[in-house]
Symmetry: C2
Subunit: 317 residues, 2 copies
């Protein structure tokens, strides 16, 4: 029997990335084309089909070897029904993507949201390789999460498991309202957006910081760089982001007892500076037996996690 | 083929309860005998064997119909190896109960800790019947937890999942040290022990409360009864216990998106007075989509949950 391969699709607002993934979780070939959101959902779906067919044609594999096509997208997905419920970045609302692509491609289709597929990719083939129980955080505009137990994504009763960015961990007196409507969510502090907000607040308050000298808007990278250079205000901001990540991990640890926490996304590039403080808080707040053998590490796959995890939906769900 | 049955054993410090459970999760017969801890582990194991054989002999079933014997015990268990690592109530330390009982009874044996088997019992045959994703809290001397996903107990990487009583949810300024060594654990407030402590503190402080008139030591039931009678200090104490339960459920909900939270144990007898406040906090702290369709209810099986869940280890793990 010839080798089976999977195509993973990372459906983003700007680009659609497609990758051929083998049964061992190796990304063997990639292709990227524009999403073309302004042309509407029909055109976006045409592009997915085109890019998937294209990458297989350009590869050493035959179309008959494609065992399935998985897709990850930022937004709300109904995994069971194969429907993208709401994905503002790509202009999709209630798009039954599975049935559409199954008809067009003649292959089994699976979907999930971007945080879950990235977590699955890392768990399968990245920083969680060989680990059965891991929990991933993606620190970007928001804080995404994905929980892997027994090598599989935990979906929850209505598909909303892993929304770790919305854990209410900030004390009342310091809490601000999150985009979700609640007060004190993790992502109000530990996302790029949260870091930028805290930096702008510090500058407006007149705190002494090199960030006040920046001419254009402050980015999360600016804050991280300033912290690494010893700017005390920036250090305080990054420490705060780290503290609440560690606190949320303590809550996850006593619930699920994972072996590894994996942190990806732009903010995770702060590196050991961030990770050491996360670990310190985690150890401080978690009962010792639940910390034993537990590691907190950086994601390894970067932007490839989405493609690999999307393909992994066939082998690990 | 004749019907298969399971024997569930609830191994407690005072009594060993054994029950015959059918494949549908019905407890069809029970028997209870003394544990006799002072006589030592050998004698306790003799008693388990004796009571299991006895209940089957007294039943309409034949020994050949027993498909397995499950045991739940308060303490640390190594589920994979079938070892009771530490169970102070019954005087067990590193007892390889599975191999011992398999040899004596000639039946497959499974074990787990009391909180997990109680959760499984409720999920299978009690307040979680028909629900795939549920999370149980047992409010007793401590706060026990058990997480059921897809109908099965989540064990975690080292068997410590579901330790919900050790989630650090109490704000720093109000936190006290928990028996586990950490500050601010849920069970310092929401267990019977926590409620009694808060009541004694209030009496010592001279707060105006009917609890100060009690002649013997204050029990959690005294506090709950006083709260129901309108005692404001007692109401504040029970509200605080409820608030942090709701807060911990919010953290669990964004992680796992369960359909139902089930609360058992002595303190849960406070009834709607407690439950309404838990629900209020849960709704306040959890993003609305994650609350949709979620219920917070009382456990239904009482002390039978342990026997039923222990038997359920064979069908649901």
């Amino acid at each position: 029997m010839s080798e089976q391969i999977y195509v993973g699709v990372d459906l983003g607002g700007t680009a659609i990335k497609v990758g051929i993934v083998d049964a061992a979780g190796n990304l063997v070939q990639t292709y990227e084309g524009p999403t073309e959101v302004p042309k509407g959902p029909e055109a976006v779906i045409d592009n997915i089909e085109k890019y998937v067919r294209h990458i297989v044609e350009e590869s050493p594999y035959d179309w008959s070897q494609v065992a399935g096509v998985g897709t990850g997208v930022a937004g709300f997905t109904n995994v069971k029904e194969g429907v993208i419920v709401l994905a503002p970045n790509v202009g999709f609302k209630d798009v039954p993507i599975r049935s559409i692509l199954e008809e067009r491609l003649g292959k089994p289709i699976k979907i999930d949201n971007d945080a879950n597929v990235a977590a699955l990719g890392e768990a399968w083939s990245g920083a969680g390789k060989g680990i059965d129980h891991c929990v991933c955080y993606t620190l970007g505009t928001g804080v995404g999460g994905g929980i892997i137990i027994g090598g599989r994504i935990v979906q929850g009763f209505s598909g909303l498991a892993g929304e770790l960015g919305h854990m209410a961990v900030i004390p009342d007196l310091e809490a601000i309202q999150c985009g979700c409507g609640k007060m004190g969510c993790l992502e109000t502090v530990s996302s790029a957006t949260g870091i930028i907000r805290m930096a702008n607040d510090a500058v407006e308050r007149g705190d002494r910081t090199s960030l006040s000298l920046l001419e254009s808007g402050i980015t999360a990278k600016d804050v991280i760089d300033a912290a690494k250079s010893g700017d005390e205000v920036a250090i305080r901001i990054v420490s705060r982001a780290a503290f609440y990540l560690g606190k949320s991990m303590a809550a996850v640890a006593v619930s699920l007892n994972p072996e590894r926490f994996i942190i990806g996304g732009g903010v995770s590039k702060a590196g050991e500076f961030l990770f050491e403080q996360i670990r310190e808080t985690f150890l401080k707040l978690t009962p010792e037996p639940v910390t034993r053998g537990v590691s907190i590490v950086a994601a390894e796959l970067g932007n490839d996690a989405g493609m690999i995890g999307a393909a992994g939906l066939f082998l690990r769900s």
